[in-house]
């Protein structure tokens, strides 16, 4: 069973549906015993770093996420969920993240040429940087759906895929049992479902 952690940010209907579509049982939950009993964890998130990390701490689930990941359970952050797994975020100030991944979350405006639209919204191609079971079912150049204004920086040790948007931006990360996608696999058609399938069956 997959636990999709619910800490009050974003709408988890599509995410839950995408697991059903690949024949996996997934529950949306904030119950720590359910999270503890799950085989794997999905850590979602939309919105701003500051608000989301605040809600996560208020719910006490930041400790749960950290403990479960440290126990070796596979965990994948999606979009802002991935960003929160890093050490620090620089959105409306400087905030500590969950700290499972080394690196920080920075504005894409710092690295892309002026004139490019922010956020990056749309389908962009993946460039695979390192082999990982998470991306074992997709190919270099496959497109996935992005919506983001910030990106993971200083994360050479975990980056497994990037995307080109005026600069090479982190698209997916993997470090031990901790995974993350900047894009939305649940909105990325067959490619996205294959990434979720790989997370369920191959990691």
């Amino acid at each position: 069973m997959i636990a999709i952690i619910d800490y009050g940010v974003g709408n988890l209907f599509s995410l839950k549906s995408s697991f059903a579509a690949i024949g996996q049982e997934a529950v949306v939950t904030s119950d720590r015993s359910v999270i503890h009993d799950a085989d794997k964890i999905i850590f979602p998130g939309v919105g701003a770093f500051r608000d989301a990390i605040g809600k996560l701490r208020a719910s006490g689930l930041d400790a749960v996420v950290r403990e479960e990941a440290q126990s070796g359970k596979p965990l994948m952050g999606i979009c802002l969920g991935m960003q929160l797994l890093f050490e620090k975020g620089y959105e409306y100030g400087e905030y500590d993240g969950v700290g499972l991944l080394r690196g920080s979350i920075r504005p894409i405006a710092d690295v892309i040429p002026k004139g490019l639209k922010i956020p990056q919204i749309g389908w962009n191609a993946l460039k695979i940087k390192r082999e990982t079971p998470l991306l074992g079912r997709i190919r270099e150049g496959d497109c996935v759906y992005f919506v983001h204004s910030y990106y993971a920086a200083e994360c050479d040790e975990s980056v497994v895929a990037t995307t080109e948007y005026g600069a090479e931006l982190t698209a997916a990360v993997a470090y031990g049992n901790v995974y993350g996608c900047q894009f939305h696999p649940e909105k990325s058609g067959a490619v996205g479902l294959n990434i979720l399938r790989a997370f369920c069956e191959d990691v």
Partner: protein, 252 residues
């Protein structure tokens, strides 16, 4: 490189897609869920569901359909039609919409965009503007293009983006239904004015119209159309291939 998006728009009334549809192999051609699946499999990058129901019962049917679509289709889904309050945003987002498009609701209450953007993020709020030339000036029309608001369109669009609209759909009433190509002049003016994704709507009649659109106006992010897709006059897979062959970044 980010790809140019192709977006079919489905007008839904009382649970059925309006404007005739004609596909071989599709069991129920007027079923929004079936049609959405078909488009997703054909390579559509996103879908727009437009609720043109007037009644409360119709609205309930619409949200049921939305939920069923989101259970089956895993590409971004934008919902418009009858969005007048933040509660309307909430209603459709809970049923699986990713973005919500506002048109007359924002004209009646311009604060709606800001309120929704604050709660759900700019990326969730799409401004849809029906624009028509009146004595050589671009004007915003309300109520499905029937009523001239008198507002200058470019200024209106700029203002809505300032309030938090994360994308803009520009529907040219002048070219809509004519099938002679998109309104390049109007779209160029909008692209010049804002730095959020611009979605072109109104006027597409054939594959070449999309090629011309993206080659002439590289700042346009997406092309939206309805009946040419529904009638099978433009097949999305072929369109995407033609775009790629012409050097336009597209998701194949």
């Amino acid at each position: 490189m980010i790809t140019k998006r192709i977006i079919p728009c489905l007008d839904v009334k009382d649970g059925r897609v309006v404007k005739g549809v004609n596909f071989q192999g599709l069991g129920d051609v007027a079923s929004p869920v079936e049609l959405a699946k078909h488009y997703s499999e054909s390579g559509a990058d996103e879908l727009v569901f437009y609720d043109i129901t007037a009644s409360a019962e119709g609205r309930t049917i619409f949200t049921d359909i939305l939920r069923e679509t989101a259970r089956n289709v895993f590409i971004p889904l934008t919902v418009g039609g009858g969005i007048n309050t933040v509660d309307d945003f909430d209603r459709v987002l809970k049923c699986g919409a990713d973005k919500v498009s506002v048109n007359s609701g924002a004209i009646r209450n311009p604060a709606l965009i800001g309120e929704a953007a604050k709660r759900y993020g700019d990326q969730c709020v799409v401004l849809s503007a029906d624009v028509k030339r009146v004595d050589g000036v671009f004007r915003v029309f309300a109520r499905g293009g029937r009523e001239n608001t008198g507002m200058e369109a470019i200024e209106w669009i700029r203002r809505c983006v300032g309030e938090g609209a994360g994308e803009v759909v520009v529907n040219s009433i002048d070219t809509d239904g004519v099938r002679g190509g998109f309104d390049l002049e109007m779209l160029a003016a909008v692209c010049e004015a804002v730095n959020v994704p611009v979605i072109a709507s109104g006027g597409a009649g054939k594959i070449e119209d999309f090629i011309t659109l993206f080659q002439t106006l590289p700042k346009v992010d997406a092309g939206l159309a309805a009946s040419i897709f529904h009638f099978g006059e433009v097949e999305i897979g072929e369109l995407k291939k033609a775009m790629a062959a012409n050097g336009i970044p597209s998701r194949l």
